[in-house]
Amino acid sequence: MSQELKDDLQHIRKMMEQSSRFISLNGLSGVAAGIIALAGALAAYYILQKNSIDYFQDYSGVGRTGVVTQLTLLAVTVLIAAVGLGIALTVSKTKKQGHKIWTSTTKKLLIALFVPLVFGGLFCLAAMYHGHFIIMAPLMLVFYGLALINAGRYTFSDIQNLGYCEAFLGVIAMFIPGYGLVFWALGFGVLHIVYGLLMYKKYR
């Protein structure tokens, strides 16, 4: 009798959890995004060196048109590769678990994630347009962190914690201008890999 009641309660909890949170998020998506981000940061560093800009000595050359174009192209490539691979890995995990991907929870998750991201992205573009390259990395980290905190309601709570870390890192980066690339690599590279591995182990 009591076992049956316990099973009932467990079933209720599981159904509530499963229907209100996106639980198929694959930790490996984070690891993949992190590795791509680190590779991107390295590539950015080489682009700067090739243009004879010593990143840690003199930041001023970064604003030259040719360099900005190359870095922008690189950023777009990194973004597409990281998001694409991330989505592919999560979709494959969802399929393996036998769940549907496109549910009302998925929609809520994506809206919660992308509304702050799009506004943040446009804000960053405006900052870039005005030549404020030095605050790009801190801005990206803070907006990304806020987007994750917002989206965390609809998936594992670890995502919310990752969001706090990203936003916090962004604020620190804002206080130490000139080290944007380092903080960017830490936030989008290292943090993604660490959280990805944590979540991969926890929710396999």
């Binding site: 009591s2 309660l9 079933h11 209720i12 909890r13 159904m15 509530m16 499963q18 209100s20 009302s104």
Partner: protein, 96 residues
């Protein structure tokens, strides 16, 4: 065993518990999505949904998306209250 009287007979089946659990934490949920969560057959799900609808625990909305009919469900206020009472009774029983 008087505590048992607080358990709602309408929620005795696992499927009905599942339906109510999904509906108290979500707004409108359509049939296919409900089926995906509960992993039961169409007929089984439909009959339990009918029973809950007759008790006025859930609200049903039928609409067309393009040419396809879509039926969605939502828990009524009475349904949420009854379900909450049921869970409280379950918990009380377990605590003994």
């Amino acid at each position: 065993m008087s505590l048992l009287e607080h358990l709602n007979k309408d929620f005795e089946s696992r499927v009905r518990l599942g339906i109510m659990s999904v509906l108290v934490v979500n707004d409108w949920i359509d049939f296919l999505e409900m089926k995906d969560h509960l992993q039961v057959t169409d007929g089984n799900l439909a009959s339990h949904i009918n029973a809950l609808e007759q008790k006025k625990y859930i609200e049903v909305k039928k609409e067309f998306v393009g040419k396809k009919p879509k039926t969605s469900y939502k828990a009524t206020k009475a349904g949420k209250e009854a379900f909450e009472k049921h869970i409280n009774a379950l918990e009380k029983l377990l605590r003994g």
